[in-house]
Chain length 415, copies 2
């Protein structure tokens, strides 16, 4: 994409009411726009990052046997009343609104109830199980405070998968597979080294649930990390479980972290309340055994920015960068401009995702924008670069070097 | 995809409170689920159809120079107050809700106001224009009645593109290009022959706006069609404009229709109210000239079902069908089952989108499901089909014929 075509501009300052580093940087780079506290719109660069992340998650969910759906945001009060979660004493983050006839409806903060009700039409026998519907859908949560940028939004995209299994044994097998898939996802999006499996409160059907917490100073959560196992215990249960659940280590280190995913054994809580049952091989009616598995793709973006940035801007991991290379033309002559154009065409032809700074602007401005936007590799064509060559510099490095167009293409092919 | 894997089941009856043909059939086929009146969730088959349509629209919007964004659903009251549309006397279809601090917020029924406000950060000079952001985003409309299935939802996906131009001349050129792109889109999704350009009320900045109306008995709109030109006049303006705007024909035929798209010249209504200005080549401040361009992908699905179905089920146009071929195995022997499995693998390997009915069910049930789901081509492998051959039948035809696997692959390649 040509940068002259891109409608967004970088800006020197973020809104004064924006305190979080992630949102400030994403706004300055033109990735997102702040509509109000905790509510952000995605601009072309931000949407590209979001789509990279959702596509990685989608691939891993499909590999698990997931089937994609898209449930509504407006919710029928009745299904929520059946589990007691319509009541604001049970759930204090509802956004509710009214239909013309005066009936109340809610904006989904999660989808257990409606999906469990929906599945009644599709599950009746043990032959129909297990099943794993999932979706990427917006959740609405009426947070009292929203000061962490896109890490805690009032409206945010979530991938939520739900497992419907015959029994706890079948459930456990899938639960462990999902745990692995989640590690794969966080590794693929560049957060693997910073993201640790964290033991958290389990509810009625399981001793623990599991969170995926990214170690991050901006985090609102505290976890207690075992340095040996790289697993952690959430602060909420540390007094009952003060040692590493894996090795028994009692020297756990408190760390700030952001919950980027969680997996939870729901058991038959929802299937009992909403009457989701199947007939087993003996014809007996049994409640379906459920689990839920969430990831916040927008939150992952926020964490990536908190972790991978310097004072000049963002440093995207390769797999989620909006483009893999930022081609910057500093041409003043027609000849060099033509050479930059030709290289852009060549990269496009090879399906390499390139942002081409073809703008009529000063070198300093172009470099500052490149640093702020944070594409992993910058490639400069200028009056000084020899014909057929380009100066490349990684965003995370200070040193530049000259390579041929062919070498650049080779480096980038398959990215 | 194997049908044994798909979690949805067809059903004999739609919910008794569902009166529309499109929703009844889509619910019976397992494409959608009704959450409440006017609110539907998409199940795997329905989401596949929806994604086919949005991808066609996306390609055409990108070809026009569009740039994809994703704006929030929760809306800042302040921007709507500036145009007077926060007031429920101006807009009676708001869903409004409250933040914890008591401040009111709205669920976007459209996005002119927030996008115009957003663009202030990115447009300041004539060099920044024209620009064409677009999105696929859910709109919320508090309809008094919602009896047309997914043709009129309280929550529905919409593609909305907005044009930001220097002046009316530049705007007109783009407006005409969009008109052509819309014809291309409706042709590509199979609604071209049934969809006519319709002249409608234009507002302050244009004599007309233009709707794309699909002729359909279930339509809530009435249009007046010129049989010669295949263009129409909307009922709302027929008394002022009683003849064909193209040829002057005064024998226009009233027809029921569904509005599947519209394009509208907004002029400077929103840019004036929200102060979106640019400096022209002489340094003079000028209001940006705007247009808006909508398509309802879900509505298009509803229209396709209304138009292309018989008493047995849906007949999807090829380009938006959830799969291009429905492979049905009626094998009783291991040998024939193996042959059906092998053909499925071969189709998968060739990237042909195939739904494979591998279920242990009666032939009658499988054929009834195939007719209901409405995939354009059915291919049957049974004990009667000769080895290496398959019986094919188009959904729209009554006659079946035997072809070789190679012929089937040839027919389907590139679809």
């Amino acid at each position: 994409m040509k940068q002259s075509f891109l409608f967004t501009k970088t800006r020197r300052n973020a809104p004064t009411d924006e305190v979080s580093r992630n949102a400030r940087m994403l706004i300055r780079g033109g990735f997102i726009h702040k509509e109000m506290a905790g509510v952000y719109s995605y601009l072309p660069l931000g949407l590209r990052v979001l789509n990279k992340i959702t596509e990685i998650i989608r691939e891993e969910m499909n590999a698990l046997g997931g089937q994609e759906v898209y449930l509504s945001a407006l919710q029928d009060r009745e299904v929520w009343e059946k589990t007691g979660r319509w009541d604001e004493r049970a759930v204090d983050s509802w956004f509710k609104t009214e239909l013309k006839n005066g009936a109340e409806t809610g904006l989904a903060f999660t989808h257990e109830e409606p999906l469990t009700a929906l599945m009644r039409g599709h599950i009746s026998s043990y032959r129909d199980l297990p099943k794993y519907p999932y979706q990427f859908q917006v959740k609405f949560r009426n947070e009292t405070r929203a000061r962490s940028g896109i890490i805690r939004g009032r409206e945010f995209l979530m991938k939520d998968l739900y497992s419907f299994s015959r029994d706890e044994t079948e459930h456990r097998v899938f639960y462990e597979k999902t745990k692995k898939a989640y590690h794969t996802i966080f590794a693929r999006i560049g957060l693997g080294e910073k993201t640790v499996l964290t033991f958290a409160s389990g509810g009625s059907f399981s001793k623990y649930s599991h969170e995926f917490q990214s170690l991050c100073a901006a985090g609102e959560d505290t976890i207690h990390l075992c340095g040996k196992c790289r697993i952690a215990v959430n602060n909420e249960i540390i007094s009952e479980h003060p040692v590493c659940p894996q090795c028994g280590n009692d020297k756990l280190a408190p760390e700030k972290a952001v919950e980027v995913g969680n997996i939870f054994t729901l058991g038959t809580k929802f299937s009992d309340a909403l009457n989701l049952k199947y007939r087993d091989e003996d014809g007996k009616e049994v409640s379906v055994f459920m689990g839920s598995y969430g990831i916040g793709p927008g939150r992952a973006i926020g964490v990536a920015v908190e972790l991978f940035a310097d004072e000049k801007g963002i440093m995207w991991p390769n797999s989620i960068a909006p483009f893999v290379v930022h081609l910057v033309s500093l041409a003043s002559s027609a000849k060099v401009k033509k050479e930059a154009d030709a290289l852009y065409e060549k990269l496009q032809k090879e399906d390499i995702e390139v942002l081409y700074d073809d703008r009529d602007a000063r070198a300093g401005e172009k470099f500052a924008d490149a640093d702020l936007i944070g594409i992993p590799l910058r490639a400069v064509v200028s009056e000084k670069t020899p014909a057929g060559k380009v100066e490349i510099k990684e965003r995370i490095s200070e040193t530049a070097r000259i390579v041929s167009h062919a070498e650049l293409l080779e480096m980038l092919s398959g990215k």
